[in-house]
Amino acid sequence: MATLTEAPPPLSPTAPAKTPPRRRGRLVPYWLLLPGILWLLVFFALPMIYQASTSVQTGSLEEGYEVTWHFATYWDALSEYYPQFLRSVLYAGSATVLCLILGYPLAYLIAFRAGRWRNLIMILVIAPFFTSFLIRTLAWKTILADGGPVVGALNTLHVLDVTSWLGMTSGDRVLATPLAVVCGLTYNFLPFMILPLYSSLERIDGRLHEAAGDLYAKPITTFRKVTFPLSMPGVVSGTLLTFIPAAGDYVNADLLGSADTRMVGNVIQTQFLRILDYPTAAALSFILMAAILVMVTVYIRKSGTEDLV
């Protein structure tokens, strides 16, 4: 027995010892993916399915809702609330453009010129996050209050005449006008523009600027032909991170706007929480999602940054 059991080992230990690690190695990525997939399934996929089913239900709160594949809800919601949809796109778009105009120079400054002040400025950019979103927006209510110093100054400088003529303000008020909502959106989402811009600018090799200068590019041309194209990944992710949440936002329009500045987020909120018309709210959410998805896809295609992102 002893001789028999001892004879075969040279073969057997090597074979099983070699295969299991390889098999385990192949499965490792899936194990690592598992928590994320479960998370997505439970907190994204399932609610989406639930919402999708809600959007095609009919009934009433008293009698209960049931799935009747009533797709007309989508059409009804869109035809009734398209002004709010357009307004959302307009406000979010304006806020995104403003964020880009305000954020790019600052991100550029932090990335290339700030020197030892870099960390301090970065902290200042992020500092507003230490206060609640709601409190920050409420603060703007005070800042833009009627007869306050800001409105007074804008009035004296005749800025309000211009904005009123453009339909962005009315009379000598800023609060409860489109301008106030766009200002609030811009303020609240500015860091989401600055951070990706900064990270893509910061990655640009300083020698590329020198090389462009060496090759007869004036500083402004260097920016146009080298710096800006290389910062496109930051511009794209910054605009997406600003536009998408801004388009669905309702807090700014609620606190700083009026009945005339309601955005689609406000409509969804009202439908869900006040009117309790769940199918319409769900349908509106899906339309918003689809619209954003289409716009984003077109935008990314157009900006041609797929290979840079």
Binding site: R207, L208, E210, A211, G213, D214, L215, Y216, V226
Partner: protein
Amino acid sequence: MTNDTSGDVRLSGISKAYGSFTAVHPLDLTVPQGSFFALLGASGCGKTTTLRMIAGLEEPSAGTVFLGDQEVTRLPPYKRPVNTVFQSYALFPHLDIFENVAFGLRRRGIKSVKKQVEEMLDLVQLGEQARKKPHQLSGGQQQRVAVARALINHPKVLLLDEPLGALDLKLRRQMQLELKRIQTEVGITFVHVTHDQEEAMTMADTVAVMNAGRVEQLGSPADLYENPRTTFVANFLGTSNLIEADVDSRSGDEIVLKAGGGKLVLPEARCSAPTTTGGKVLVGVRPEKISLTHAHDAGEIPAGRNRITGKIADSRFIGVSTQYVVDSPVCPDFEVYAQNIDRDTRLVPGADVVLHWNPAHTFGLDATQSLLAGTVGSVGIEEEAAV
């Protein structure tokens, strides 16, 4: 060379200080039109700073920069008729090879660039790669793009900042020859910064050896090698055996020296230091100039040669030659490179030998300097720098 001086680079008294640190001490330098000029030195010696001041990427703390007759000291880089090949190439990653090369032409408002760019890409043998992005090319190809991108502008002066530093040895050798060929072909002034003494000697007509922000010595590669004037140059360019000696007497234009009991002869013309009888002088001789004879055959050495006795401490066979380290009373590790023609099998570690050489190959240096300046491990010299 021609009488055209528009490609001259003249630096007059330029210096650069960063706070209390002086990177470049006041420096006067003239690089004649059409020459291949190398600035050689270890890292931190100020060579790159000097180059960047010519390019306009760094503003001198004092002094003036002339290109031809034009003063460019305060001119921004984009207004200077010079182009640079950067150390890491600095190719624009978002543009393809064609657009990288066309960049300078387009900035100067030239519309039809196609023909010129294609010709330039052919010159550097990259015509096929025109539509690729820089990251798709190998290091050597990227290097050639960087050269093409600069050369297409027909600069008065081409500045090269360690352009071959990132390439492996074989490719570097090949690119050295390539760059030299291009320079001869286009006839533009090249100013080349490198820490590789072999690279500088292979390519350049004139080499300026820099150390601690100053030019130690300037001359043709052969001149620098044969007639170093400082111990730094003697040790940084190749290897030198340096012996401390006392001046004994003079006979005609020769100086007779005493070192370790023996006598050495040094031609006066080859001594860069003032000598007084009884004073000290450093005597140098290159390892390949020395012959090695076994002590038993000492009688066969012709008269009139400088001799030193010693014992072989180590020998390394490296194919074309054998490198011996000889322990002698005047210098503990005397380097001798002997060609492998007729190998004397008695020349093994432990053997007593006589080192002898033609006195004409002896050079003399000021004895007040450090013997070790410019060797590996001395201040400012890194391992790679002396390879």
